[in-house]
Each structure stands twice: as structure tokens, then as C-alpha cells.
Symmetry: C2
Subunit: 197 residues, 2 copies
Amino acid sequence: MPKVGMRDTRRQQLITATMESIAELGMQNTTIVSISRRAGLSSGIIGHYFGGKQGLIEAALRYLLEQLGKELKERIARTDGSPEQRLKCIVEANFSDFQQTEMAAKTWLSFWARSMHEPGLQRLQQINNARLYSNLRYAFAARLPPEAATAAARQTASMIDGFWLRSALSKDPAEGFAEAQTLCKRFALSTLNSGSH
Amino acid sequence: MPKVGMRDTRRQQLITATMESIAELGMQNTTIVSISRRAGLSSGIIGHYFGGKQGLIEAALRYLLEQLGKELKERIARTDGSPEQRLKCIVEANFSDFQQTEMAAKTWLSFWARSMHEPGLQRLQQINNARLYSNLRYAFAARLPPEAATAAARQTASMIDGFWLRSALSKDPAEGFAEAQTLCKRFALSTLNSGSH
DNA sequence: TTTTATTAATTGAACGTTCAATTAAAAAAT
DNA sequence: ATTTTTTAATTGAACGTTCAATTAATAAAA
């Protein structure tokens, strides 16, 4: 039946189908059948390419993390290194078009909940949390004293995650995301310059 | 007639056991057996008192919401009505001892994720989100112009949820919760008085 | 070139497990 | 005696995994 060299194509097909299924049916109702049907493949293929359902789930989270990292890297590369620009980039990467899709947003939240009880996901999750904090802290530290930079980074990270959470849960995510971005930037930038009074 | 007053006892037993099971095993691995065993009862009793597993899950979320509402009400009653006091109360209620228990924190997050795909939970969730926002907005509006009050309320609500989320997911929730409370108060109070320059 | 062998990709059915719900019987209280 | 409460066994559906069989593509041999 198949052609050779299908590996990467199929893996991506299945990862996308996984996120679609989680977004549509929830983690609870996502099965290897609901995934493989969406990918237009058979259920057995999941075992073949990912070892099993669990392996596919982890691969999907890793994919989301990669996208987020990539978006940030691209944005940072296109600016000078000023703290203002860095903060803007961090916020924008976290609210990028891809992250705003219902697919990505709902998948993230599902992963978060599940990561509490699955070490494999938990590890990935904590790396991501630490990365956001650390990027923010670096930007703030350029203008603020250490202690203030730490506090500002924690507050900003939480505000981003919180807005993101509330938007994902709201009836009209698109609207929520748009204002979230504005208000996160406003807070981050005004905090950055709060020393100059 | 039968043993009187068993109803409320058993219901509370089962609700607590549900949260314990969700905290320990996750929503994914919580079954009517894992719940009833923790409650020291048989699995059939869940159908008797809650109609089924789903009914019990919803009752548990309603219980968490009630606790949160009660904590806020008690705190507000014990203060003057100044905006500062109100903000302090709101933050403290959201980080109360009960909310900080691993049981409550993990259960909340599980509910959040699940509420995306279950209308019954989604409704309760949105009521809660709206309540937090509305309480905050009321306090800010006492000092800030309408538009600024709205923005401040959204930012504070998100910061609370975000800190809460990050604490619940972190390795050492207790430590995270403690600082979360401090930083949320600091932001809320300084924003409240940001007009007086 | 044609034929044969090997490898890679894919399917789908069978299997064993797990779960929620149901139910009938027992226990306990009035 | 009657009603409520509780248990424990049963049922049937749903799930993830496994695996033998199939097909297509490639390589090797003739």
C-alpha cells in the first residue's frame, strides 16, 4: 500500500489530528480511533509510529512547545535587544495566531491538567514555565534591581498565563485574546519603567 | 423509617472522596470505585445519591465554588468597605488555606480543563470567572475611571488565576501560593492608587 | 530487462481490561 | 412490617494494544 519515506508526514498528520480531537472532543473523549479517523488512517498506525497513545500525546505536547519556542526566537531575531522589544516579543509569541487557534488553546489546557498526574508531561510543562519566567526576568533585569525584576517577571508570567487561561475558557476566545495581549504589554512595559520616577 | 440524616453525611463524604481521588489519581484515573473506596462505601451508592458519576463530579465543583464564595463573604463582612480592604479580601479568599490544599488546587484545574467540553461544568465555571471579575471591578471603580477600572480588574483577575495555575503546577505549591498572594496584592493595591500622581 | 526477494507501511480484527450503570438482595432503622 | 440505606455481583459497552496479513516500493538476482 504505502510509499516509502512517509514517516515524517504521517507523524505530523497524527499530531495534528490529536490536537483536533482534543480540541473538539476533549482529552476525555479522545481515543486512538477518534484520532486516526481524523487523520484518515487506521488505528494501528499509532502504535507503529508512536509506540502507543501515550507516546502520541507526548509528541503532540512537544510539538506545541516547539512552536512556541520557534515563534519567540523568530520575533526576537527581528528586533534590537532592548528590554521593551524583548517584552513585546515574549507577549506576542505567547498570543500568536497559532496559539490562539481553538485547537492549540484547548490542547494546551488539557495538557496542563493532565501534566499534574503524568511525569512525562509534567517535565515538559515545567520546562515551558521556567522558560517563560526566565525570558521575562532577563528583560526586566536590564532596568530593574534584581528583586524587583524577579517580582515583575513572576507577575507578568502569571498575567500572561491567566489571561490565556481565561480567554481559552471564555465563550468568545478571539475577543479575549486580543485584549489580553494589549493589557499584558501595558503592564509589562509600565513595570519595566516603574523605576524612573 | 431509615437512619435519618444520612443523606447529607454521605453526600459530603462522597464529594470529599471525589476531590481526594482527583487530586491523587487525576480526573483520568478517577472511577466510581476509586471514589467510593476512599469514602469507605460501595460504588452503587454514587448512583443512589448523585444519579451517577457525572452528577457527583458536578456536585464537587459546586462545592468548591460554594467554599470560595463563602470565604469571600466572611472576609468582606469583617472589614470596612474600603476598596483596599475589598481587594485584599478578594485576593486572600482566592488563596485561602482550603484553596491551597493539593486536593482543592488539583481538582480546580481538572475541572477547568473538563469544563471546555461539558456544558454543565462550563456554566459553573463561567459564573465563577464573572464573579471574580465583577468583584474586582467594583473595588477598582471606587477610585479609577470606568475604563481604567475595567482594565485593572481584568489584569488582576488574570494575575490571580495565572499565579494560581502556576502554583498548582509547580513542584512546591505551598511556596508558590505564598508569594502569589503577596504579589497579587501588591499589584492590585498599587494599581488602585495609580491615579494619584 | 524481467523476475524474485526484501523491506517498509498499513490495515483491521481479536483480545483482555476497565469502567459506569443496573439490580436484586441484605441490613438497618423506624 | 415497612421503608430506606447499602452492598455486591453482573452486564455490556468502550478502550488500547497487539499482531498476522496485505500491499507497495525498492533492491537484488537472473
